[in-house]
Amino acid sequence: MSVFMDLNIISSNDKNRLKSIIETAAHLGYSTVAINYVVEPQQKKQEIPKPQSVSDIFDKFPIVQGKSSPIKVLNRLTIIASDASHFRPTNEYKSFDLVAVYPKTEKLFHAACMTFDVDIICIAVAEKQPFHFKRAPVNGAIDRGVFFETCYAAAIRDTTMRRYTIANAISLMEVCKGKNIIMSSGAERPLELRGPYDIANLGLVFSLSEGDAKAAVSTNCRAVLLHGETRATASGVVYTMKKPKTPQKQEEESPVSKKCMRCSAHSWCPVLTAT
């Protein structure tokens, strides 16, 4: 029983188109999809679009083929970065479930693999890869749990793009040995989606092994989701939740704020006695 996900559906302002894409995805068997907001920050303008709430699109989500639960829809942000200043994790990034970056230069690719706080690094599909993949940053990314993404919609649209997609994908697979890869659609219309088993077969064309190709559509995608969820936590172990305030608690607020964690451990407080 594997769960298939398609983590790249290009968002548009046309709600009906989004609706039909998501319905087709549910018919094909995808349990989760992510709507991708692509941002290309120009020199000084840094406008991050606010993701529209998922319940706006559907009041009743379509049921996934072969299961009885409705399809899950998430929001994702992709930053096309040609300069290091373009990627600045602000509070607005927190409203997205997944964050991805599309580096355009070798230095940025290195920085994205080693230091940036992202879940997904996108690989060029519409053009020849401007830089070569080096083993060091790719292995660093694999250790950190960052995933590389290939989109296949360009390959379906046009023959020239198909050559670039296959070439770039194969050169990536050679370096990373098939680990930490996800394949997603990048679909703008419902006819550009393909079923999960067809995509796993496409993975064989990209010189992945059978197990890796199937994982690229199922288990690796799930790992990306978990990585996105734990971005807001401390090393994935502790996370904070806002506790709803009841009226009685408000009276005790001032003494509670004076108390700190160490007081409960010791009988004196080093912080307060110092001041």
Binding site: H27, G66, R162, P190, L191, Y197, D198, N201
Partner: protein, 204 residues
């Protein structure tokens, strides 16, 4: 000439085949016995279109020609040669858009990978925008039939909440109950070892 059909486990390679051949030769006292394996893979696909009405007049020739062009574009002369020897469209249902394509066992993955690149079908001079979604890969037509019965029953279940009138609901319920494959053999000896691998891959 008598033809005897024997199903055996080929997971251990050729030694089983050699032993079987030797055994049969001794049993029948004939030295001119030969075994030939007719392995094939059947790809069960569904044609997905945005509006159902354009599916009505679909022919198996159009699927065959489109598939041939796609394999030629994706895999060149090698692909065309493989297509010519093994591939044939066995079954087409224009109402539901289900296609059954047969190909040789060694090359079915190549043909399958070219399937994903099909964007439109040419049918009696008209171009229909569509895509092919592969539902099941089986070693025999019977396994594909069994899967198709299960799949159609699932589709009817999905259609039930969308029914507007009670009469439609009754129709759908009756159709669900009457879904069955006559003379379905339950023997596991139907499929040889490698079939089970594919079937396991496809089971969700």
């Amino acid at each position: 000439m008598h033809v005897l059909e024997i199903w055996y486990d080929s997971s251990r390679g050729n030694e089983g085949k050699e032993l079987l051949c030797a055994f049969l030769k001794k049993l029948t006292n004939r030295s001119n016995l030969s075994l030939f394996c007719d392995l094939s893979r059947y790809l069960l696909c569904e044609v997905c279109v945005p509006d159902r009405s354009s599916l009505q007049l679909l022919e198996d020739r159009s699927i065959y020609n489109t598939l041939r062009a796609a394999v030629k574009r994706a895999h060149g002369d090698y692909g065309s040669a493989l297509f010519n020897i093994g591939v044939i469209v066995k079954y087409l249902n224009a109402h539901t858009g289900v296609v059954l394509i047969r190909s040789r066992k060694k090359h079915y993955r190549l043909i399958w990978s070219a399937l994903s690149f099909i964007t439109c079908l040419e049918n009696r001079g008209q171009m229909v925008q569509c895509f092919l979604n592969c539902l099941h890969v089986g070693g025999t037509i019977r396994t594909c039939q069994k899967f198709l019965v299960k799949y159609n029953r699932q589709q009817l279940h999905r259609m039930l909440p969308d029914c507007k009138t009670d009469a439609e609901k009754q129709e759908v319920r009756k159709a669900i109950l009457s879904c069955s494959l006559s003379n379905v053999r339950d023997e596991e000896a139907d499929e040889d070892g490698s079939d089970d691998d594919d079937d396991d891959d496809k089971e969700t």
